[in-house]
Amino acid sequence: MQFWIIQTLNSLALGGLLFLLSAGFSLIFGLMRIANLTHGALFMLGAYVGVTILRVVPDLWLAALLGGLLVAAFGGLLERFILRALAGNALGQVLVTLGVAFIIADFCLIVWGGDPIPVPTPEYLRRPLIVAGVAFPTYRLVVIGIAIVTAIVLHLLMERTRLGAMIRAGVDDMQMARAVGIPVSRLFTIVFCLGSALAGAGGIIGGPILSAYPGLDFEMLPLALIIVILGGVGSLVGAFVGSFIIGFIYTFGSALLPDLAYVILFLPMIFVIAFRPRGLFGRLGT
């Protein structure tokens, strides 16, 4: 019984982290029409930057905030100075994001070394929550809560504000959005910064569960890709549902059928591509 409960909770916590990663990935993909292959690296960069910040200010949430802002600034520069120079050349942009991902990976290896660095769970969240004789890891519950709150805030931003409506207008018909005076280039920067911030903060918040290690970037990136293909490009609801589906499949797949973990992971994606190419909640063809 404990096994199933804990694995369920692990799935949900991983799903929450994946949502922080894939929400921005999906928005960037939907608006800018490019798969940002740097996204996994931004997650890892966030984790490492968090490690360093934590040595100075020993507060995980402050580290997540600061780290998120730093990664956002990095993402903003990447969009503004490199991707914009390649505007209209989607393939070039995707290749550049892949190149930057490799650069970040090497940079992290040089600065933080090759050994995994554990991120301590905040003191006050270490004691498990005991309900009806079952022990729940408290930190994972908090991560799930953060993901849900983030999802609600993002949803309100996208659905209830003029900025959100402008972003959706850009997803619907970018050329026409420009023609009614929507500053699409500025939206690109905003969305890229937002996505980078979420990925970076996600890396730090995920630290106590995943820790920071070389290769974290390319472990996360395919998951974000699968989630967005599954949920639909540019759809927050899709990213949310997709994240939890993949969280469950990945966790239970690794626990029950470790040899087939990747098969189980990619199988639903193949079915979705075959039968619902726009994803479960998607509007755009990819």
């Binding site: 003029r162 409506a165 619907d172 050329q175 420009r178 023609a179 009614v180 005076g181 929507i182």
Partner: protein, 237 residues
């Protein structure tokens, strides 16, 4: 008369094919200019060149004397050109209200600026459907929304690309009345139309394009009874 919009010597290309040849015409402030021609004559291309979708290779385009050729579409929109595009191109997943709100631009010095309220008053039917996704509207309603959306930007010049296309005759008449009202309010309009009757009813001036070149340019009255010119360049009479 003040020149609201003028094109001079505009050449535009789609890849290797040269679609606009030395196009020049000008729209006076407060007037309606009908841009006519057969399919493929270059009318929509002309609109695309003005709004910046297809930056012209050379030539000048100016809005109240200010050069706008080769600016980005958002910069051109912000300088005061509104577009009601061919095929309407409303944002289908946004609500009717959101379609209008995202296009809002305030222009200092506008005497009676267009607001959500004024657009709703112009098109009461949109008011009733405010919270509906725009993609669920009928063709006529989508056309009204496309016009309302362009007005929300408080344009100094309005480009309308076939606003009557694919609409029932009753709705065409309604769209015609709306354009007449906008003209009365002093808006300068370039109107691309296949519906010659509608165009002649609204226009002060006419420019006719034939295979990307200006074939006729003059007052509407001179053209109305000139069947030879009409047949030659439109082939519909």
């Amino acid at each position: 008369m003040t020149e609201a919009l003028s094109l001079s010597g505009v050449n535009a290309l789609y890849g290797d094919s040269h679609v606009l040849h030395e196009v020049s015409f000008s729209l006076s402030a407060g007037r309606v200019l009908a841009l006519l021609g057969r399919n493929g004559a270059g009318k929509t291309t002309c609109m695309n060149a003005i709004i910046g979708f297809l930056p012209p290779r050379d030539g000048r385009i100016s809005l109240f004397g200010e050069p706008i050729a080769r600016l980005s579409p958002e910069a051109i929109s912000r300088r005061g050109i509104g577009l009601v595009p061919q095929g309407r191109r409303i944002f289908p997943t946004l609500t009717v209200r959101e379609n209008l709100v995202v296009a809002r631009q305030l222009r200092p010095g506008t005497a009676r600026p267009w607001t959500l309220e004024r657009v709703s008053e112009l098109f009461p039917r949109l008011q009733e459907r405010q919270q509906q996704p725009a993609g669920s509207l009928s063709g006529g309603e989508q056309q009204m929304l496309a016009i309302g959306r362009a007005l929300m930007g408080n344009p100094r010049v309005l480009l309308m690309d076939e606003p009557s296309e694919g609409l029932a005759p009753r709705i065409v008449a309604e769209v015609g009345q709306t354009i007449a009202r906008l003209k009365k309010e002093g808006l300068s309009i370039v109107l691309v139309e296949q519906n010659i009757k509608l165009a002649f009813g609204l226009a002060d001036d006419v420019v006719m394009l034939n295979t990307g070149r200006v074939a006729f340019s003059g007052g509407v009255d001179a053209l109305r009874n000139d069947e030879a010119t009409l047949t030659q360049h439109l082939g519909v009479f």
